[in-house]
């Protein structure tokens, strides 16, 4: 009988353990690399999500420019905004700061969903005014009949109820008209109901083209700038306030030019009317564009530029226009400014209406800023 060996431990177990440790290390290393790659990839996605959120925040402010709020800010003031992406992949916050009378900085900070990544972009925006070449209280290319107790003035007249108007400018023509058109009067002897410098200016540059071109925009392109559109018809225009808020959804609410305490006092819409418009009372402000004829009565008061593709007709207690009226009169029908109509040139009403109603657009060049 053999004696039991004292030590039967071999090297299999140590070798197996060694191999497992080494292989485990290799596998762990590979996993580590894969994890690192995944983390880098995930970070890239987060960064891109934050960037997209910042971009969307800024772009949305530009697309939905709140003229009534932003255009009324004084220089140096700012308003904030925030929102969440509809895809749920991120959110944004930022501010709109007025840099000057015409310029704004839109700053948007974007975050991914869990806010672990952040990006910031900026956009330089500029108010886009409609370039209306007002060189007379009334500009037209068609025959015009003036009478009753109507009055047309090319002298710069600030609206009586308005404060903070800039210094008045030189007087313009009372009526600026194409030489081929005639002016007839009825009760306005020697055109004594027309004042200006000159009283009447016959200008061959008053043509359909010149009256339907506004800077780099055509008449039809103005439509894209409108705050809203209305169909032709007969309307009473008046400010509408509900629970202390100006009801801008009401299409017959064109702001309140008279009461400086009204919530609608800062509301200057750009109104586009398809077809013939007949207004009977009351008041409004902004930019009125009529793709048809315009008839006014009942003492309707309007502050801002009026552009009419067809003819202008005022009767009865007429209309009171403060700013300037351009009646392109494309059908060469007769304008009639009768009754108690008043057309006053007012640089203050023009500038305020054009500025307050303006949309904003990115600068022509170098509008985008990476704010990091």
């Amino acid at each position: 009988m053999f004696a039991q060996p004292r030590n039967e431990r071999g090297i299999a177990l140590p070798m197996a353990i060694f191999a497992l440790v080494v292989i485990g290390g290799m596998v762990a290393g590979s996993f580590f690399i894969a994890t690192q790659e995944q983390a880098v990839g995930r970070n890239s996605v987060r960064l891109q999500q934050a960037f997209s959120a910042a971009e969307e925040g800024a772009q949305l402010q530009m697309a939905n420019w709140q003229s009534a709020t932003y255009n009324a800010m004084i220089v140096g003031d700012s308003v904030t905004f925030s929102g969440t992406l509809s895809t749920g992949t991120g959110w944004y916050r930022g501010s709109i700061r007025r840099l000057s009378q015409m310029m704004f900085l839109v700053r948007s900070e974007g975050f991914n969903r869990d806010s672990s990544s952040r990006q910031q972009v900026g956009m330089l925006a500029r108010l886009r005014l409609i370039e209306i070449d007002i060189q007379g209280a009334l500009t037209t290319q068609g025959d015009t009949k003036i009478g009753g107790s109507s009055f047309i003035s090319g002298h710069d007249t600030p609206p009586g109820a308005w404060t903070g108007c800039p210094a008045t400018t030189d007087a313009l023509a009372g009526i600026r008209i194409n030489p081929g058109a005639s002016i007839t009067t009825s009760g306005c002897n020697n055109l004594d109901c027309v004042t200006g410098d000159p009283q009447v200016e016959y200008d061959s540059e008053v043509t359909e083209e010149s009256m339907t071109t506004f800077g780099d925009l055509t008449f039809d392109e103005l439509r894209a700038l409108a705050s809203f559109e209305m169909t032709g018809g007969t309307y009473k225009i008046e400010p509408v306030v509900n629970n202390g808020r100006c009801q801008t959804e009401t299409l017959t609410n064109w702001g309140d030019p008279i009461d400086p305490t009204s919530p609608c006092n800062d509301y200057f819409p750009i109104i586009w009317v398809n077809g013939d418009l007949n207004i009977n009372q009351l008041m409004g402000q902004g930019v009125l564009i009529v793709d048809g004829d315009l008839s006014v009565q009942g003492g309707f008061q309007f502050y801002g530029p009026v552009i009419v593709r067809g003819f202008l007709k005022t009767t009865g207690t007429g209309g009171h226009f403060n700013g300037g009226v351009v009646a392109a009169n494309v059908a060469l029908e007769q304008n009639t400014v009768l009754g108690d109509a008043v057309i006053n040139y007012s640089s203050c009403a023009l500038i305020r209406a054009l500025t307050a109603s303006a949309s904003a657009d990115l600068l022509q060049e170098r509008s985008w800023i990476n704010l990091y």
């Binding site: 053999f2 292989i23 290799m26 880098v40 310029m103 370039e131 780099d216 509008s367």
Partner: protein, 287 residues
Amino acid sequence: MRNRHGFTLVELVVALVLFGLVGTSIYQLLVNNQRLYLSQSERVNANSSARAAVSILPHSIRELSATDPDGSDILAATASGFRFRSLKNVYFACQDGALGTLVLDRTNWFGIRALDVSTDSLLIFAENDLTTRTDDQWLHANVTSAVVGTACPSSQPSITLLLDLLSGTMAGVYQGAPIRSYQVEQISAYTDASGDSWLGAQTISKSTGAASTIQPIVGPLSGTGLALVYYDANGNVTADRARIARMGISVVGQSRSVVRTDTGIGYLTQDLTTDVSLRNNCRFSCP
């Protein structure tokens, strides 16, 4: 004999053969694992190089304007690099512009660093006629000196710059106008002393026009490493710097060392391609 324990020759040979087989297998396993590990590491390196390049370049390119009437921001463009105005920050004027002078708001600025008079030149926004946007322009100016003070309204902190205006007039520059500063830089692929390709950056002195020593920013890259293609607004390839609307970037990252691959021993490569639009090109009423 007191101790007769031992192995027969046959046992010993069998044990040695078995040990050899097991050892060889383990060795093969270890070698393969190590090869896989190295290969993975090197692939990560190649990926990282390519990814970093297509991440860094768009940041520099997005803010450029090639259509500036006073000169494209892209000052030179080749297939392997480009020289450009690298925008650093944006300030705002706190006073209307005056002849040869501009006062900036010192507290409200954005960017990757503050204005550096020794290296930076300026682009100043001139609104000109307020009622139209078609005459807006960016004036080009060189800064000759800067004085820190409180010249902004209400004695707010300011930087008063003396300018050498290179285009336009200051009459149309109003309070609130944005001012963007830039430094001319160059990004290009180059080969170092050891023969490796890299993506490198240089700054260009505004006084002498001399380029600084090239600094590697991403690499190593494979072959030429970087291929740039310039497109106009219609999508056609263009050599006209003033018409560039989009840049196509192709980068081939390379592993730092050779590894055994299916086809033999060599470097691993990873190519990435992206296109970047110049977002600050003229948008309307362009000359």
